[in-house]
Amino acid sequence: MQDLAISIIFKGNNLLRLLDGLWITLRISLLSAALSIPLGILFGMFLTLKNPISKFIGRLYLDFIRIMPQLVLLFIVFFGITRATGLDLSAELSAIIVFVLWGTSEMGDLVRGALISIPKHQYESSEALALTKLQTYWYIIIPQTLRRLIPLTINLVTRMIKTTSLVVLIGIVEMLKVGQQIIDANRFDYPSGALWIYGVVFFMYFFSCWPISCFAKWLEKRWSDK
């Protein structure tokens, strides 16, 4: 019976359930990424301000989110807010809030790094051309930063997709949890089923992250041709 362990993938609705789990994984991570990239760009610009108060606030936020493990943040948002205010946030909303907070801080730091890597003469030349601050950013700085940011951002998005496996701890049944449920439900009949299920989960993660990497490569190529 053990050599038929692969059959548990196709037993009942198992494959469909795994795909459902994948959809939840992607929905949470891509929505969070879509929100945290623009917010992170703004936050990154905020971080480069020379004002000491803004610097302090930025630093505080960045370090707080970075030092806290994401799991702790999930628990604080999901259980802590309910405890403190009685407001009952759904698990998925809590997860998105945490991933946006986290993504914004990570993205912000990447943007800050990219911004300060732009040589000073770029700013000075645009000032010499009488461009306003906004114009300088929009026409000169941001296009150059974006190119430097792409590989880093893609790295962040794929990291987000993988980190969503933490959300099971606040009761969201995503792909990895569905996999564990299937393995456990079959552990007496198919003890070697784990290998197959984890194999399928591996490919699903791979085929979610791979197209994103391809897209990034394509973008990089297209922009360097110009």
Partner: protein
């Protein structure tokens, strides 16, 4: 330097200001729910729903395990199954409402009950003194003790037979502490992981292996040549439903329900339906189920 101090002060004021805001709004929210529901409130901001609120809403939220067969798991159709779930279905039926399951992990069970994110935690929740301070346990519906599994051709049926023999245990389990305290002349061989301990038994590195009886019973069923010779040993722990502390209406209803179900031997039926196919004749229902909340010690 002055500027820095100023910045720091501003930041601190902001943080405290925010905290103060959220606190007041929290109290208001709590107060208004209190007035509406007339419910006893503990220090937590979130109130669990009372019995009437659950009935009115038409849905009872129950937290179960989704990957601990045969107690709480999800079958290939995507439906929740198992010993705990069988009971949960009955609770919903007797309340006259639908059931909505939340998949819990061991680490988050207490939090779920405390914040009222689920009405009832029914996830193989072992009653301990520490947990009882954080949540309210209803009457027990199941019990666990230690079990000892050994090869069929050298079966150990009595704990005295273990004298001067090698017993395999997993580190940090109740089995380890129990045998160290009560049977010092049993030689213990300790492993970090369950999988290693089971492999040691398969390889014959020890004469027997001991851990929770439900666990060894399930393992012996899927490993030919091994049998659980001792099915109940040591102090008995009970497993019970848990609700938010102070949610008396729901707690009392659950206690009454468990007593009523005891009269019809409901948990024996539950055992036959969900656990018997796994344990076979290796165990009997009386060693695992608790009827009417009464445990014979």
């Amino acid at each position: 330097m002055k500027r820095r101090i100023l910045a720091l002060l501003t930041a601190i004021t902001c943080v405290f200001g925010l905290a103060a805001c959220s606190n007041t709004s929290g109290d208001n929210a709590a107060k208004s729910t209190k007035e509406e529901t007339n419910e006893t409130k503990d220090s937590n901001g979130a109130n669990a729903r009372t019995l009437d609120e659950i009935k009115d809403s038409g849905v009872v939220k129950i937290g179960v395990f989704s990957d601990k067969a045969p107690f709480g798991y999800v079958d290939e159709k995507g439906d929740y199954q198992g010993y705990d779930v069988y009971f949960a279905e009955r609770i919903a039926k007797d309340l006259g409402v639908k059931v909505e399951y939340t998949s819990l992990d061991p680490a988050s069970r207490v939090e779920y009950a405390q914040t009222g994110k689920v009405d009832i935690v029914l996830a193989n929740f072992t009653v301990t003194d520490e947990r009882a301070e954080q949540v309210d346990f209803a009457l027990p519906y199941m019990k666990v003790a230690l079990g000892v599994v050994s090869p069929e051709n050298a079966l150990i049926k009595d704990v005295d037979e273990l004298k001067d023999k090698t017993l395999i245990v997993a580190k940090g389990t109740t089995a380890e502490t129990y045998f160290e305290a009560n049977y010092p002349d049993v030689e213990l061989q300790k492993y970090d992981a369950y999988a290693d301990a089971y492999n040691a038994l398969l390889d014959g590195r020890g004469d027997a292996f001991s851990t929770d009886n439900t666990e060894v019973l399930a393992w012996a069923m899927s490993n030919k040549g091994f049998k659980v010779g001792i099915t109940s040993l040591g102090s008995i722990d009970t497993i019970a439903p848990a609700v938010q502390k102070g949610n008396d209406t729901l707690l009392n209803w659950l206690n009454d329900e468990i007593k009523t179900l005891g009269k019809e031997e409901f948990f024996h039926a539950d055992y036959e339906e969900t656990l018997a196919p796994v344990y076979g004749d290796a165990a009997s229902a009386d060693e695992i189920v608790v009827e009417g909340g009464e445990v014979e010690k």
